[in-house]
Symmetry: C2
């Protein structure tokens, strides 16, 4: 693989190493084109090309007139699992849910044991925001992903937060929208997960997440029947 | 996000839609630059830029003098979870393994129920190839990932094969190498997983995968002690 890599790809990797080496965090500014070019021993046009690649990988973002900054998306690309190539959207939603059944109950139980007070406060806030949208009949995809990603972060596993973004992301959503009854159930089970985590009750958090996912499965089934 | 997208990113998305629309499979040739430019109503240089982005996302690959082809990596990028930004490699390996404990036993059990004769033959071949490298004291990372990805494919879940590539991929490997004793254990437990799947015994496949992962955990522990 490496031998076939283009120069711009190699320079893109070098820039990533620079970000890691300088411990730049999301929102931090990168060295300018001129500095990068001289540091990496390549032309400025190659640096520009490499930065375009890193933009498309969500590693950096360009703010016009201000420079290039480390992206908040931490290098998680738009469609990391290539799900856009699977054209049966109901199948993708169902199979993503199957995966969530394997992973998320245990994460909720880990979060009950490991979450810090700050993480608990964040989960409460995100649960509220998501519930508000759910009950108002609005789209809650983004708030929902944020809530589940916060639980994943609170689990203490460093790999899963980025994975949660995929599992609960756009591909997991059906083209339709849940009924008002279903929205109430989803909001209610979210709150049960949160209460169990706050009570440091790992077993209850596990069970509450299972129940929530079972409701998600019902929601998908209802929507595919319509 | 969409409003800030560069023209080249939009054209890259259009090319992906073309690949999906024409049902092009890995190894199939893309329409040439001229045809793409006229179909998408943009200049050839924009098409060239967009193709570079798709190369870096492993959606397509360029074969010099032959053209642009759909990549066998199905759009799974090099580091889809942004694991390169997590600098504690032992921690990443340990946490990836924790995830594998949640997912892979169930996949093995699904594979016991769902695998076709062709998939079984493939798993046998990959198990042999991996065992050969393991026992010869050579690096077996690639063969190992292929074997686990084949089990994931045989599970029937359309999402997990691409995920297996991440879970068992380079980041899950310690910088060191397992001892000869450990290699024998890993090869033996691989074979037990395969036998259980071939015998259509889902429970035994589940347990064999658990035992294999427990050996992987030991292997990581041994390597971090050295």
């Amino acid at each position: 693989m490496d031998s076939g890599k283009l120069l711009t790809d190699k320079v893109a990797d070098d820039i990533v190493r620079t970000i890691i080496g300088r411990e730049l965090k999301p929102g931090d500014k990168l060295p300018n084109e001129f500095e990068l070019a001289s540091k990496l021993g390549v032309g400025r046009s190659t640096v520009r090309e490499a930065i375009k690649i890193l933009v498309s990988r969500n590693v950096v973002e360009i703010r016009r007139g201000a420079g290039t900054f480390v992206s908040a998306r931490s290098g998680v690309s738009e469609d990391p699992l290539g799900l856009q190539f699977l054209d049966d959207t109901t199948r993708v939603a169902t199979d993503l849910l199957q995966l969530r059944f394997l992973i998320e109950p245990r994460l909720a139980s880990l979060a009950a044991g490991n979450s810090t007070p700050e993480q608990l406060a964040e989960m409460m806030q995100l649960c509220d925001a998501c519930e508000k949208k759910m009950l108002a009949g609005e789209s809650f995809a983004e708030e929902n992903t944020s809530f589940h990603a916060a639980i994943a972060r609170a689990s203490g596993n460093v790999v899963v937060p980025n994975l949660a973004v995929i599992l609960c992301g756009p591909s997991s959503m059906m083209p339709g929208t849940p009924s008002q009854d279903m929205r109430r159930e989803l909001a209610r089970t979210h709150r049960e997960i949160l209460s169990a985590i706050a009570a440091r009750d790992g077993m209850a958090a596990y069970d509450a997440m299972l129940l929530h996912l079972a409701q998600c499965r019902r929601s998908i089934a209802e929507q595919s029947l319509r």
